[in-house]
């Protein structure tokens, strides 16, 4: 189980990375943490002829930083999962709040410790596993992906336009994902997450992420998303509709779960049939909505 041959380049500047991608086109793959790409290469399911390693780039605020900018949180693509797991409470200052807890909480659900040590936030997003925690978060919260290339101006792609299907995004071969932008969630937001996996650290069979904005005791804005139920993570609009305007009670969460089950159309595989995944969607959504905090795995 050894990778096929490839040529390797490890540029020192982003411009060189972009130039290499432009030169090699879809023959090339960007190597960041390698925790998704390298297994596929070892199985020879992925066989890029050129690897562009961004691991040697000099530290770069855009790629490596986490910052807040007018209601937007920017996470550099090269930030490792482990950094988010240990992102200090209130690390974003007043903007930390529910989004900070969500990031710290979700990070622990990403694979295992050695995977989180190497794997990167942007790598996970660009890999686009439909059950990956960061992908679910990006889709649910409406993240924006900052994409650069040497041939076109920088573009910003909304999550719903970014994720196309399993392991497939709208990134062009010459493009590099450099940063992900998320809306800061004020203190009136309440976030929840629930994941069902067969073993600790496995990809979710189904996972759900919820965010509710509550004003005067009622839900005024709802974001509900799930992974493991389609080729991409999905927003669950019917579940959201069942929540908006309601008072957050277990009964309402139950209704939202039923709506979620009703609106997904998963396909089955060996880890769960279509029907089972559909059932689980409702359970996961209901539990995420009812969660007091982001649960810990194990």
């Amino acid at each position: 189980m050894k990778p096929a041959q490839f040529s390797y380049i490890a540029p020192e500047t982003v411009e060189e990375v972009l130039a290499a991608l432009a030169e090699h086109g879809d023959e090339a793959k960007v190597l960041a943490g390698g925790q998704s790409l390298v297994p596929m290469m070892n199985f020879r399911l992925a066989r890029p002829s050129v690897i562009v390693d961004i691991g040697r780039l000099a530290a770069d605020e855009s790629l490596d930083g986490i910052s807040v900018d007018e209601g937007t949180l920017r996470i550099g693509a090269r930030v490792r999962h482990r950094q988010l797991e240990h992102f200090p409470a209130n690390g974003l200052g007043p903007a930390d709040g529910p989004l900070g807890s969500l990031l710290r909480g979700l990070a622990r659900w990403v694979g295992h410790l050695p995977i989180r040590v190497r794997g990167t936030f942007g790598g996970s997003i660009a890999h686009a596993d439909p059950a990956a925690e960061w992908c679910i978060m990006a889709q649910t919260l409406g993240a924006e992906m900052v994409v650069r290339s040497s041939t076109r101006p920088m573009r910003i792609v909304a999550a719903e336009d970014f994720f196309e299907t399993v392991f497939t995004t709208s990134l062009e071969p010459e493009e590099l994902l450099t940063e992900v932008r998320l809306p800061v969630l004020g203190p009136d937001w309440r976030v929840g997450f629930c994941e069902f996996a067969r073993r600790a650290g496995d990809f979710a069979v189904v996972a759900a992420l919820t965010a509710l904005r509550i004003e005067d005791g009622s839900i005024v804005e709802a974001r509900v998303g799930a992974g493991g139920v389609a080729g991409t993570p999905v927003r669950l609009r019917a579940a959201e509709a069942a929540l908006v305007g309601a008072i957050p009670t277990p009964a309402v969460f139950h209704e939202a779960g039923l709506a979620a089950t009703g609106e997904v159309d998963p396909s089955g595989d060996i880890h769960g049939s279509a029907g089972y995944r559909r059932d689980l969607t409702g359970v996961m959504v209901r539990r995420a909505l009812g969660a007091e905090s982001i649960p810990t795995p194990v």
Partner: protein, 785 residues
């Protein structure tokens, strides 16, 4: 000084801890081989294009097939070529082999070989293989795809079932398993041009048997092949049978005149090493109104995969199921038919416990089901059926030596605190949420059996005995050479304890040599919970004889009677006196002053011994406590208790490690691991993200209580227990899951009891009740609250 019975640290550990273990892939080699494997489950090989060796090259060298059989009329004997000839019969079957200078290059070369295979209709599961018009896997199997069929019945079976107060009729299914040692299979072969001898370093459990199998196929005298099992990264049965690939390595090395390695990768291991335990049992138990099982009838099917395994054969699973299904229970009438059915899937081999994890599940589910219907406690029904008098004769005529069947059950339940559990369970059910469940499994583990048991199977290669050779060198240190071949069990440590105790020296003075056909007596290896009993027994016999010789020499030297000599702490002393000689000094005399040896004893201090017992039965009770999430079907193990009686413990620490490892594999079988094929015979579980061995997060701490019933069925008093953990755990876990969901009317009789299967059982029970909101819904509402 007593050394037996102490938890001495393992002599195996320091090298392994420093990274100085020597596994197959660590041996130097010039070339790397890679097998080109069939991508199709069934097909006719039209052409193989590219730089590769095929069966034609083997044929040209006069290489023959691997042959083994059970001498019984229903057994279908099919010689197996080392590489596929004419047809492919499972995805992963080796068709050709290439050789490169590095593993990467070998894989490149293998990719370049083009296989032109015309697909034919595969048979993948039991039902399609048994269909009247099913394609035949092997033309030799003229009776369809059934390759072995055993049956047995006591005369009063039908009458007993007809007159039973209660007949419980159930179907028990085990999905396909894979032993999956963490180190895959592999071997390094090198041939010395000076003497034309080949050395094969191979990750195997049975180097002598592997040598015999390879030499028979290659037409080599056994003296020209040395097989060495170095450090072996787990086996669990998967490294017991002869691997075709290992035989090809020997042939390649001789053909190419170089050293060549084959190191199986994980995808190969999961798809083309041996699978196990794809079984289905239809069982009917007839009970009287007090819960006594009067009669048991069973129809058993085992999917053997595409080929028989050498030397155990594809009869091993169905015939063990037939023989041992009744377990320890007292039972008047028994009738069974058990068939092995070949299919276009990976061949099967023994995996820790062989059929016993499934047959134990079948009988233990029957017990719980009958208890439920009769309003009996699951412990009580077992008490009423377990034997009190020994030896207990099973319906098939096995004699179970004395054990602690009832005592182990009582001890396990006391440890669990049943009253407290039932209170918690009732409480949880009323509150909603996760559902606690508790499951019991009592069983007998037939262990340490020698030639008679294997001969009864009619094996053309009858395994069984073990031999050892023990020698004390002039410095007073001992070397024990054994035919058994441990691979992680800690057998070396245990044997040093046995020898040290008999000879009266410190265990650090004893070295064990195993796993090398040049340096050990012929023996069968480590499998079937046998090494501690057989190699341990032989070691004790040899050490006692050596001690007798030392004592005789000491007696001569000190002018005392041999029977008055005590050997202890490195000294030979005359009982009741202060007279003594160091054993070192006596060793020196035996070698360098042999004229001083008593007549007929010298020179030197050497003994050889064999041990070949009929066998013994360990027993145990496992109790599992689980929590079932009724919404996801997920099952969490909360507690696990084992009360084990394996006779005399040689090294309790090692014993506990064997139990915990076995239980962990049993839990994995019960809940997680499953080899899955699609209907076309494509294997879907070729990575560890799809085939799911458990992590530390899925396995609870396992509490162990020992009972020690020592019988004379084993001369050391030690009974085997390597498989027991794996045998008992699935039934305990599945019974616990059923206990958790029984009040919903749900039942799961299939393993692994995946979340989806548990959830489906709850759903269909709710649907059967007619109120979908009831079973699952009630808990959902309560959870929401």
């Amino acid at each position: 000084m007593n050394w037996v019975g102490r938890s001495l640290r393992r002599v195996e550990d320091p090298a392994l801890l420093r990274g100085q273990g020597r596994f197959v892939d660590d041996f130097p080699h010039r070339a790397t081989a890679r097998f080109v494997r069939s991508p199709l489950a069934s097909g006719v090989i039209e052409d193989v294009r590219g730089e590769a060796f095929t069966v034609a090259d083997l044929d040209a060298d006069g290489v023959s097939e691997i042959v083994c059989e059970l001498r019984r009329p229903d057994f279908v004997k099919v010689p197996q070529p080392l590489l596929a000839r004419g047809r492919v019969r499972y995805v992963g079957e080796p068709v050709a082999v290439v050789v490169g200078s590095t593993p990467e290059e070998a894989e490149d070369l293998a990719e370049q070989v083009e296989l032109d295979i015309r697909p034919t209709q595969p048979v993948v599961d039991l039902d399609s293989a048994l269909a009247p018009d099913a394609p035949l896997l092997h033309p030799e199997a003229t009776g369809g795809n059934v390759v072995v069929e055993g049956s047995f019945a006591t005369p009063g079976l039908a009458e007993a079932l007809a007159s039973a107060h209660l007949v419980v009729d159930m179907e028990i299914t085990s999905r396909r398993q894979c032993a999956m040692p963490l180190e895959g299979r592999g071997s390094v072969a090198s041939t010395n041009p000076a003497d034309d001898r080949t050395t094969l370093y191979a990750s195997v459990q049975s180097p002598h048997m592997v040598r015999t199998g390879i030499c028979d196929a290659l037409g080599l005298p056994e003296v020209d092949l040395r097989v060495v099992a170095p450090d072996v990264g787990g086996g669990f049965g998967q490294k017991l049978p002869l691997a075709r690939e290992d035989a090809v390595m020997v042939w390649l090395s001789r053909r190419l005149g170089t050293s060549v390695a084959w190191v199986e990768d994980r995808a190969e291991n999961l798809s083309a090493a041996w699978h196990s335990r794809e079984q289905r049992y239809r069982v009917k138990g007839g009970f009287d109104d007090e819960g006594r099982m009067l009669a048991l009838e069973a129809d058993i099917l085992c999917n053997t995969g595409a080929w028989s395994c050498y030397p155990i054969t594809w009869g091993v699973e169905p015939l063990m199921a037939l023989g041992e299904l009744p377990g320890p229970y007292r039972l008047g009438e028994y009738g069974v038919r058990s068939r092995g059915v070949c299919t276009n899937t990976c061949p099967t081999s023994p995996y820790r416990g062989v059929s016993r994890p499934v047959l134990t599940l079948a009988v233990e589910r029957l017990m719980d089901s009958a208890a439920g219907r009769l309003g009996l406690d699951p412990a009580e029904i077992r008490h009423r059926n377990l034997p009190e008098e020994f030896p207990h004769r099973s319906p098939m005529g096995y004699y179970l030596d004395e054990g602690s069947y009832r005592q182990s059950l009582t001890a396990a339940l006391a440890e669990m605190d049943m009253e407290d559990f039932r209170r918690r369970q009732a409480d949880a059910r009323s509150k909603g949420g996760r559902l606690p469940g508790l499951g019991i499994s009592t069983f007998a583990e037939r262990t340490g059996y020698g030639t008679p048991a294997f001969a009864a199977r009619g094996m053309s290669v009858t395994v069984g005995y073990e031999n050892v050779a023990l020698a004390m060198d002039p410095s007073g240190y001992l070397t024990l050479r054994i035919g058994a071949s441990p691979h992680g069990q800690g057998l070396h440590t245990a044997l040093t304890q046995i020898v040290a105790e008999e000879v009266g020296v410190h265990p650090q003075r004893v070295r064990i040599i195993s796993g090398d056909t040049d340096n050990t007596p012929y023996g069968w290896g480590s499998f079937a919970s046998r090494s501690a009993v057989l190699a341990g027994g032989a070691a004790q016999i040899a050490a006692r004889e050596l001690a007798r010789k030392i004592a005789a020499l000491a007696a001569e030297e000190m002018e005392a009677a041999p029977e008055d000599i005590l050997l202890d702490s490195g000294m030979a002393t005359v009982a009741g006196t202060s007279q003594g000689r160091s054993i070192d000094e006596l060793a020196r005399i035996a070698h360098h002053q042999p004229q001083r040896m008593p007549k007929g004893l010298g020179p030197g201090l050497r003994t050889e011994a064999g041990y070949d017992p009929a066998g013994t039965f360990s027993n145990a009770c496992h109790v599992a406590e689980v929590e079932v999430d009724p919404h996801t079907g997920g099952v969490q193990l909360k507690r696990f208790v084992v009360v084990e009686d394996a006779g005399r413990l040689i090294n309790p620490m090692i014993v506990d490690g064997q139990i915990r490892g076995g239980v962990t594999q049993g839990i994995a079988n019960a809940l997680l691991e499953e080899v899955i094929y699609d209907p076309d015979g494509n294997i879907l579980t070729t990575s560890l993200m799809d085939f799911l061995p458990p992590t530390a997060a899925e396995i609870p701490d396992i509490a162990i209580i020992h009972l020690e019933t020592v019988t004379d069925s084993s001369i050391t008093g030690a009974k085997g227990l390597g498989e027991g953990g794996a045998i008992g755990a699935p039934a305990a876990v599945i019974n616990a899951v059923n206990d958790a969901i029984a009040h919903l009317g749900a039942e799961v009789n299939e393993m692994p009891a995946t979340p989806e299967r548990v959830r489906a059982a709850i759903r269909s029970a709710a649907a059967a009740i007619g109120d979908r909101a009831d079973a699952a819904g009630a808990v959902e509402r309560s959870e929401a609250a």
